[in-house]
Every structure is written in structure tokens, then in C-alpha cells.
């Protein structure tokens, strides 16, 4: 897997020649197409008549993704919401913990920039939500990246070599699947004493990797018997080369999709843990903890509605993007979605 530049100037993390030409699920002629009849709107720099245009799988994927309206809307939504979270220091009108006892439980108003009202100690709910987004973003992305990488490695080794590790992986999955996920997570966070957002992230990642490992294992199991892998073996390629060069690129699609959706699931799970009081503890902002705080004020609806609404919006956008990626990264799908 290397980053390089195609003749047409597009670049990407790309399966190289043997993978594309090997007769595996990618269509044999994938990546080569004429410019004639192609849509001129999308990153088409070489507009010259009958010139042969080489397109990588990734440029097809990008085209399909940007034709997927909901996915693009989701991406824009995520950029706005997460942008606000990242630049919370500039966006939030108040500090996260600023207490103003003269101004408690104030309904939403634009006068003092209390857009989402104030809570029981007079802190500005809008600022708290913005800082909460940052925490959610950090937890979601950390869990997705760590669990994807770990799941990818374990799944690849288990699927390729089988044997002990494969057995172990499947048994661990069995164990995890026998109990309600939320119950185990609650027990583990109670043990490790939740609190810090990084502890929570690591605990979540420790549970999420099994899903990705099983997906990767499945792809490896089905592809390791293919002719092109045999051909690579016959021409002297080592295990590591076959695994990472020839099989791994085929798993990247599902892994990216699963990783994206894992961001949403991780944010939801963290929110549920924090809501039940076993997750991130008060000094750190957390959308779930904010909703839990709102629970104490059933009449002051803004304290519950706004943080929860942000969770819904984030997860909705993440799921749209994940869906778009699923359609875009499916190599069998040559049709460009309208």
C-alpha cells in the first residue's frame, strides 16, 4: 500500500498493478477508461479528445461519493459541527465552567449570547455543548482509528494464518457476544473508574476492534485461496508481501466504512455511559453528561434537548457519510449514483 501519483495527477492509497490485474473482485479493466463520455465536471483535468484516461479505483470512489447527496450533506454537517468543536475556544461565548449565580436556569435567548439558555449554576449551555462536541469528536475518532488499526492487524493475521490466533479471536468474540455490550462496558468502566475521556476511549476501543477484526478475517479467508495469491506465492512473494500488498487493499473499503460508522457508535456509547454516570466525569465536558444533568430539570427542557440534539446530528451525519462511503468503495459498483 503506497501513496503515489497516477499519470493523470490524481493520487491515493492504491492497490498496485498485480492486484488490479489479478482477476479478483476488482473488474479486470478497472482504472482504465476513456475520457469520452465521462462526466466532465469531476476532477477531469485532461479534457483532450480521445486521449486515454487512467482512473484509479479511488478517483472512481471519490466521484461516486460526491454524487451521493446525503453523504455530501453529512460531510458538510460534520465539518461545521466538528469545526465548532475544534475551535471551541473561539466559538464558545463563555468558558465551559463559568458560574453566574445571578443567571441560573435562563431559557434560550440571544441577548447575552445564551443561545441554549443557562443551567442550574448559571453556566452557559451553548458553550458547554460546544466543548462537549470536542470531547465527543476526540473519543469517536480515537476509538475508530485505534480499533480499526488493531482489528485490521489481528483480522489479517487470523484470516491468513488461521490456527491458534484465529481460534483465540473467535473465542474472544464469542465471550463478548454472550453479555449485553452495555452491561460489560458499565462493569469495566466501574472497575477502571471512568472519569478521564482517554480511559473511556481505550475501553471502548478494546471492545470495538473485534467487529473490524471479523470483517477483515472474512475477506482474508476468502481471498487467500484465490489464484492471484497462488501466483504471487509461486513467483516468490513472502507472506508479509502477500498479506499487505495483495490482500490488504481489498479490505480497506469495508474497514473504512466500518471505521466511519464506529465513530458514530463510539459517540453514542460514550454518551450512554456518561449519562448513566459511569463515563466521563463532570470537569470534562461531555454531551452525555450534559443530558444527564438536564435530567434533573424536567421543566427546563433546553438543558436536555440541545446536547441530545447535537448527539443525534453528529451520529446522523456520520452515518450518512458511512453510507456514502459504502456505496463509493464497493468496487463492483461501476454505476455512478445519480
Amino acid at each position: 500500500m503506497t501513496e503515489f501519483t497516477r499519470p493523470d495527477g490524481s493520487s491515493g492509497l492504491v492497490p498496485t498493478a498485480p492486484t488490479v490485474a489479478g482477476g479478483q473482485p476488482l473488474a479486470p479493466d478497472a482504472g482504465i477508461d476513456t475520457a469520452v463520455g465521462m462526466d466532465p465536471g469531476v476532477d477531469d483535468t485532461a479534457a483532450a479528445g480521445l486521449e486515454l484516461k487512467v482512473r484509479s479505483q479511488w478517483s472512481y470512489a471519490r466521484m461516486r461519493f460526491f454524487r451521493h447527496r446525503l453523504a455530501v450533506a453529512g460531510l458538510v454537517g460534520l465539518i461545521i459541527i466538528f469545526g465548532a468543536g475544534i475551535f471551541a475556544n473561539f466559538v464558545a461565548p463563555y468558558s465551559y465552567a463559568a458560574i453566574d449565580l445571578n443567571n441560573i436556569l435562563h431559557p434560550p435567548t440571544t441577548v447575552d449570547k445564551h443561545y441554549f439558555g443557562t443551567d442550574g449554576i448559571g453556566a452557559d449551555e451553548f458553550s458547554r455543548v460546544i466543548y462537549g462536541i470536542r470531547t465527543s469528536l476526540e473519543v469517536g475518532v480515537f476509538v475508530a482509528v485505534v480499533s480499526s488499526i488493531f482489528g485490521l492487524i489481528v483480522g489479517a493475521v487470523a484470516g491468513y494464518f488461521g490456527g491458534l490466533l484465529d481460534n483465540l479471536l473467535m473465542r474472544i468474540t464469542d465471550l463478548v457476544l454472550t453479555l449485553p455490550a452495555l452491561a460489560i462496558l458499565l462493569a469495566v468502566t466501574a472497575l477502571l473508574g471512568g472519569g478521564s475521556q482517554w480511559t473511556i476511549s481505550i475501553i471502548l476501543a478494546a471492545f470495538f476492534w473485534t467487529g473490524i477484526a471479523r470483517v477483515v478475517r472474512g475477506v482474508f479467508l476468502s481471498l487467500r485461496e484465490k489464484e492471484y495469491v497462488e501466483a504471487a506465492k509461486a513467483s516468490g512473494a513472502g507472506d508479509a508481501r502477500i498479506m499487505f500488498r495483495h490482500i490488504l487493499p481489498n479490505t480497506l473499503g469495508p474497514v473504512i466504512v466500518n471505521g466511519t460508522l464506529a465513530v458514530g457508535t463510539a459517540i453514542l456509547t460514550e454518551a450512554a455511559l456518561s449519562f448513566l454516570g459511569f463515563g466521563i466525569q463532570p470537569p470534562t465536558a461531555s454531551l452525555g453528561a450534559l443530558v444527564a444533568n438536564g435530567q434533573n430539570y424536567p421543566v427546563q427542557w433546553w438543558l436536555t434537548i440541545f446536547p441530545g440534539l447535537l448527539i443525534v446530528l453528529i451520529v446522523l451525519c456520520v452515518n450518512f457519510v458511512g453510507d456514502g462511503l459504502r456505496d463509493a468503495l464497493d468496487p463492483q459498483q461501476r454505476r455512478i449514483r445519480a
Binding site: D174, L175, L177, T178, L179, P180, A181, L182, A183, I184, L186, A187, V188, A190, L191, G264, L268, A271, A272, F275, L276, G277, F278, G288, V291, G294, Q295, P298, V299, W301, T304, I305, G308, I311, V312, L313, V315, L316, N319, F320
Partner: protein
Amino acid sequence: MLTYIARRVLYSIPVLFFSTFFSFLFVSYAANPLVSARSNPRLSQHLLNLLIHQNHLDKPVVVRYFYWVEAIFTDKLGKSLITLKPIWPDITRTMGHTAQLIIIAESLAIVIGIAVGIYSAIRQYSLFDYSFTSLSFLGFAMPVFWLALVLQILFVDVYNHWHVRIVYTSGLNTVPGGPAWSVDRLQHLVLPVITLFVVSFALYSRYMRASMLDVINSDYVRTARAKGVRERKVVMRHVFRNALIPITTVAALNIGGLLGGAIVTETVFTLDGMGHYFVLALGQGDTYEVMAYLLVTAVIIILFNLIADIAYGFLDPRIRYD
């Protein structure tokens, strides 16, 4: 078939052993049940020592695990480490409430979800399809606890404004016995049921739609249409029955998610169910109560997984067990 079931049951014994063993370790290290006892000034050191000795809290955790296993068989899951109350009556009572909640919500979700899934598939890309697809996206993205709280806020508001009691927003029965009791129970269950329903409904309507579309495009459906079978019959006999097969598996495997959803729902509505019991016990560090919950749910989940596999074999004769 019987040997298959027997093998699965036997295999579930080590799985149960390991999952309960690790949960026992986690829960034992997580919290000390003696914290509340130690801070109680009325409890003498002598009594405290007796408590520790009786509950084997002076032994290593691994040994305590086996005392717990012993308690499962000889003492019906044992007694609470803190209140010394027997656990069995509490578990059966709370399980009854959780079962009512889950069974009502799940039956509604399956029936309505399947109906909506079928109609969305037949009228693909219609207004109906689009609106329910959006709704199910929303259902997936919504935190269960937030939905529960929104419903609570809504009905607290209704009550504050018009002083009409449509449904209760927390707790369980306030009226003893008779038909009034049933109405009262329903009023308490409506909001928790809606909460659990929404999440499962999103799942089933999506799966049913996808599954229907899979079958609609298959060759034998085209053949049925080509030989002149009426559309209604094509849909009900050829498509619907085959599309239903994957849904049974999804429904059976969904039990773990439902129990998780019940934890949150019951906590918000302070419903006296298993999930609420579990969260309270975990907060106090009552190892035996927490373990009782985990053991019961593990058995339920293993049972449903087995049912899913067996049902799949009955519905799809191509599947063979060996």
C-alpha cells in the same frame, strides 16, 4: 439435529464459565461492598468481621468466584453482600417487569417494522419509502436515553399545563389490584415501550426492506410473474415468505441490544426492571447482585442465539446441521 443442539448447549458451558469468571473479577475489583458498611457508625468491628467472614470477602477473588458458583446452585444465586437480602425474589420480580416491557415493545416493532418494510420495498423510492427511511435513520442516530427524556419532558409538560394524567413518566404501579391495576400498569409502561420500540423498529423496517428488495429481484419471482401469478400472491407467497428468513435471525440476535436498551430505559423511567436493578447494584458494588444479572442475561442471550440458528434451519431447508 438433536446432537447439534446438545453440542451447542455443551459448548455454551465453558463460554458461560469464562464470561462469568471475567465479569466476576471485574466487578469484584471495581467496587468494595464494605464501603457503606464501614461508614455506618452503628456497625461494630465485630459485626463487620462477621460480615466479611460470612461473605468470604477475606478470601482471594478466584476463591470467591467458586463460592459464588456454589451459591448459584445451593442458594438460588445467593444473597446480597450488603443487605443480605436473598437475590432470587428480586431477580424474578424485576425480570417479570423487564419481560413485559421487552415483549410488548418487540412485538410491536416486529409487526409494524415488517409491514413498513414490505410496503417500502414494493413502493421503492415513493414518498412513503423516503419518509420511513429518514425516520429509521433518525432512529439509529438517537441515543435511547435522550429519546426517553424527551418523552418524559413532553408528558411532564402536558401534566403541568392541563393537569391531565395521560401516562406516568416514572415508577411503577400506584394502584393495588383489579382492572384499575391493569390500566395503571399500562399507563406506566407506555413511555418505556415507545422508547424501546423506536430503536428496534428502525432496525426491522430497514432489514425487511433490504431483504424484500433482495428477493424481489431474484429469478423465481420473475418466473412467477411471467407465468401470470397475481401481484398480490407474488408478494405474499414468493417474496414475503423468503424475505422473512433473515429477519428471524436479526430479531433473535437483537436480544442483547434490547437488554442494553432496557438498562437505559428503565433507569430513566425508574422502572423496577432488571436493568435498573443492575445499575443500582453496580453503583453499590454488590458483586452477587451484579453477577446475578449478568448470569441471567448471558443465559438468555445464549438461548436466543441457539433459537436463531435452529429457526434458520427450519425456515431455510438448504441449511444442514452436522
